[in-house]
């Protein structure tokens, strides 16, 4: 079959497609010719597959969690027991999440193939991971066309115009998330989008969901707790009271396990940590970045505690690490090797500042409750500057040596 696709063959221009399929099924028979005659077994396909593997816990938990909240909406009971009717919840969740995954992969891979054919190269593996990350950052109620549009934007503007996998400046999945956040804010924030079906139901029959809150932990924090005084028209002076109420709804255990509303894959810190385990054990994800990111977030949390003044500022620092997309961002987004800092010490600075800024944005700017993705995007852009100073340090050491001799 191969002769048809090689240069001069009948289907020459389809070669990238053929090559992608062939190299997926078989490691190609390419051999070394110069330099090192033997090569390490590792390649980009295996590396990317490992990241997908690491995302599986988040995906599975995300599916279940989405199913749970869909059911909670349809029964208009926010306190629906979490571990009931697990099979049904999982199937419901599957029905909501899978289309998002399929659209993301379909659109993204389609565009990648198109660019591959124009440039005459087979599919580069980067999108295999981005295609899984994008659905996991979406709210459950996101319209599919938005997912497609965001993916297209991210792949074309975020990556292909820079030259493809390995050349992008900012994280692809976060580009998609940011695009939707700023282009369609009503579908990306507020308290109606996080549970599948809630928006429709409210529009059709508001009374059926009367008194039912679809807010996320962060949404509640941002709208109710940063503004010192008012909840439901009533002044409460005491931060402590807020936090107690808050932790009744979003207990540390529930938040850590991820049994709270939120974007599809982000809620469970537990599932993220399982993924982190895979990434760190295999060496694919940088432990430096993950740890310093958490450290940065925690320290910012403590600082805010020290300042205090409103319930959001007084929220215990550890809480910040387990609610919202903090863990997901730290483990899967910040560690993207292409957009992160590339030097060992740079990674520590990059991670620390990322975590620090994430909590800063989250708490101090209630308009952007989900500060994590903004912080990481910002650090993606700052990473080359961090690296510049690290590299300059290395250069200066060498120059100094020259002067002393």
């Amino acid at each position: 079959m191969e002769p048809h696709f090689i240069k001069g063959g009948k289907y020459e221009k389809w070669n990238p497609l053929f090559e992608t399929m062939a190299t997926f099924a078989f490691t190609p028979k390419l051999v070394t010719n110069k330099g090192s005659h033997i090569r390490d077994g590792v390649d980009l396909k295996r590396t990317m597959m490992t990241v997908i593997l690491a995302l599986i816990p988040c995906l599975i938990f995300g599916i279940y969690n989405t199913g749970h909240w869909e059911m909670a909406v349809s029964e208009a009971n926010r306190n629906l027991p979490y571990f009931d009717a697990m099979g049904a919840k999982f199937l419901t969740g599957l029905g909501i999440v899978m289309p998002v995954v399929i659209v993301s992969y379909g659109v993204g891979l389609g565009i990648e193939f198109l660019f591959g054919m124009i440039r005459g190269h087979s599919l580069h593996e980067g999108f295999l991971v981005s295609g899984m990350l994008i659905p996991l950052t979406m709210p459950a109620d996101v319209p599919l066309w938005m997912v497609g549009l965001a993916t297209a934007f991210a792949v074309i503007i975020g990556k292909e115009i820079f030259g493809g996998t390995g050349m992008n400046v900012v994280n692809i999945a976060l580009t998609a998330r940011a695009f939707l956040f700023f282009a369609y804010p009503t579908s990306m924030s507020g308290d109606k989008v996080w549970m599948s079906g809630l928006g429709d139901k409210m529009a059709a029959n508001p009374e059926s969901v009367d008194g039912f809150s679809g807010a996320t932990a962060l949404g509640d924090l941002a709208t109710n707790m940063s503004d010192k005084a008012l909840v439901a028209g009533q002044h409460v002076e005491n931060s402590h009271e807020y936090i107690t109420t808050f932790s009744q709804h979003y207990g540390p255990f529930e938040s850590f396990m991820g049994m709270i509303p939120g974007s599809i894959g982000e809620t469970s810190t537990m599932a993220c940590l399982l993924g982190a385990l895979v990434l760190v054990l295999t060496g694919v994800g940088s432990l430096r970045i993950i740890l310093s990111f958490f450290a940065g977030g925690f320290i910012m949390g403590l600082l805010l505690n020290a300042i205090g003044g409103n319930p959001y500022l007084d929220l215990p620092a550890y809480y910040h690490l387990i609610i919202g997309g903090f863990a997901f961002g730290a483990i899967f987004m910040a560690t993207d090797p292409v957009t992160a800092s590339q030097t060992a010490n740079g990674k520590i600075i990059y991670g620390f500042l990322g975590g620090f800024l994430a909590i800063m944005i989250r708490v101090l700017n209630p308009a952007y409750p989900e500060g994590v993705f903004l912080a990481i995007l910002f650090m993606n852009i700052m990473a080359p500057i961090i690296d510049h100073y690290i590299v300059q340090g290395n250069i200066n050491r060498r120059l100094k040596r020259l002067k002393t001799t």
Binding site: F26, P28, V31, T47, N394
Partner: protein
């Protein structure tokens, strides 16, 4: 008495087919080859014609840019053929050996009575000089420069490398004379690095360093970097320990016999062992009857930096070993032996394969398959794990790829040779030919900055 350098970053690639500690003699090849291509950047100027008779040590060609650097015949006999490429570039000089093997005699005094200038002339005229390489650029040393030191590694840590303390066991006296001679040349700055407890630690008139740790601990580039790194405008010379023994032989006997001992190994060799050969012998003579399969790669040198040869090829000037491994020119189904297989047969520095779980005594049969296609750099931090220099390997490589001369200078191109990046190239997930890029960068530096 000595300083210790320990190398933690690196990788010992455990290959099947280590040479047994026995030395076999191989009669001189019918045809012996001297190839100008073994000397990077050299433009040869021939001084002989086809059909002329030569002795061991007679000049065949010299460096067109520096006529003092002479390249001599490793055998005695008749010039059989001067092989040229399409644009008349000289590729090989083939010499038909005679049975007598006469050696040219040089006029030698005792080392102590030889002045620095006389020493230089002797090494240049006897054809030993091209064994001395210089940093920066990793080319034959320019005798008009003053080196900051001559660096010698008494061991080779690369895969299946020859054990010099075994090869030179009987020649320790010659090594000592050779070191004395170099000492004259470098005003006392001869650095010898050895493994702890090796016989070489007893050598006199050198500055000793003990080096422990994994490959590339034995690479001269690693050692220079940790002993006295090369800055812009400085030169460091290096020479293989076997060639030091050759200098000793020159002082002892007044001639160089053009022989060396090499290790022959690799998974496709029936009886891996050491062989006494003539420099420039043909691969087929050395490997006759000693090959297992037929789809194999013949490498003159080690698997990381050697040159690919055909069976009718000849061993390279700088190489002290021959490795034969299987070719990997076949498809591998992704779930069994391919990219998603369990991979117990793969040797990987990453933890994506179970290599790190297997006992250190397990040795691997690796083929020449790249195990994946070339991509842009994606993974970071993996090159640094095998690169024991205070240099950022990925940034330097990128500077070389983008032909950023200032960048390369700043990032330390003067200290490195392509071989220092061999392990980086091995572990690179995105299969970039890093050694080639570094060589390209060095060529640019040579033409623009030297």
């Amino acid at each position: 008495m000595s300083n210790t350098i320990s190398i933690r970053k690196g990788l010992n690639i455990r290959l099947v087919g280590e040479s047994a500690k026995e030395i076999k003699d191989i009669p001189v090849s019918h045809t012996v080859c001297l190839s100008p291509l073994d000397f990077h950047g050299l433009i040869p100027k021939l001084v002989i014609k086809e059909g002329e008779s030569v002795q061991v040590g007679d000049v065949i060609f010299h460096d067109k840019k520096n006529e003092r650097i002479k390249f001599v015949s490793p055998t005695s006999g008749k010039i059989k053929q001067i092989v040229r490429a399409e644009k008349r570039k000289i590729v090989q000089i083939l010499i038909e050996s005679d049975s007598k093997q006469t050696c040219k005699k040089f006029d030698v005094k005792k080392v102590a009575d030889t002045s620095k200038e006389e020493m230089l002339d002797l090494l240049l005229n006897s054809g030993i000089w091209p064994s001395i390489k210089q940093r920066p650029l990793d080319v034959v040393a320019d005798p008009s420069n003053e080196p900051k030191g001559i660096f010698i590694s008494s061991f080779d840590s690369s895969p299946l490398a020859p054990d010099y303390s075994f090869i030179l066991k009987e020649k320790m006296d010659q090594v000592q004379i050779g070191l004395n001679a170099l000492n004259q040349l470098a005003n006392g700055k001869v650095y010898l690095s050895s493994r702890k407890n090796s016989d070489f630690t007893k050598m006199q008139n050198v500055i000793h360093h003990n080096v422990d740790g994994i490959h590339p601990a034995g690479n001269i580039g690693t050692q220079i970097h940790h002993i006295d790194p090369v800055n812009k405008g400085e030169f460091a010379w290096s020479i293989n320990i076997q060639d030091v023994a050759a200098i000793g032989q020159l002082f002892e006997t007044g001639s160089v016999d053009g022989k060396k001992c090499i290790a022959v190994g690799g998974s496709e060799i029936k009886n891996p062992a050491y062989f006494n050969i003539h420099c420039g012998s043909s691969m087929s003579d050395i490997l006759k009857g000693n090959i297992v399969g037929d789809n194999v790669r013949y490498i003159s040198g080690n698997v990381l930096t050697g040159d690919q040869k055909n069976t009718d090829g000849y061993i390279g000037f700088y190489h002290n070993q021959i490795t034969v491994i299987p070719e990997g020119n076949e498809y591998k189904f992704f779930l069994t032996k391919g990219w998603l297989g369990l991979g117990f047969d793969k040797f990987s520095n990453s933890r994506l394969f179970p290599t790190f779980l297997l006992p250190k005594s397990k040795h691997f049969t690796l083929d020449t398959n790249t195990n994946g296609e070339e991509r842009a750099f994606v993974v970071t931090g993996e090159l640094e794990k095998v690169f024991p220099f205070d240099i950022l390997p990925m940034h330097l490589t990128k500077a070389a790829i983008t032909e950023d001369i200032d960048g390369m200078e700043n990032l330390g191109i003067y200290e490195v040779a392509p071989e220092d990046f061999a392990l980086c190239e091995y572990v690179c997930t995105t299969k970039i030919n890093i050694q080639e890029k570094i060589r390209h960068g060095l060529d640019l530096i040579a033409s623009e900055c030297m």
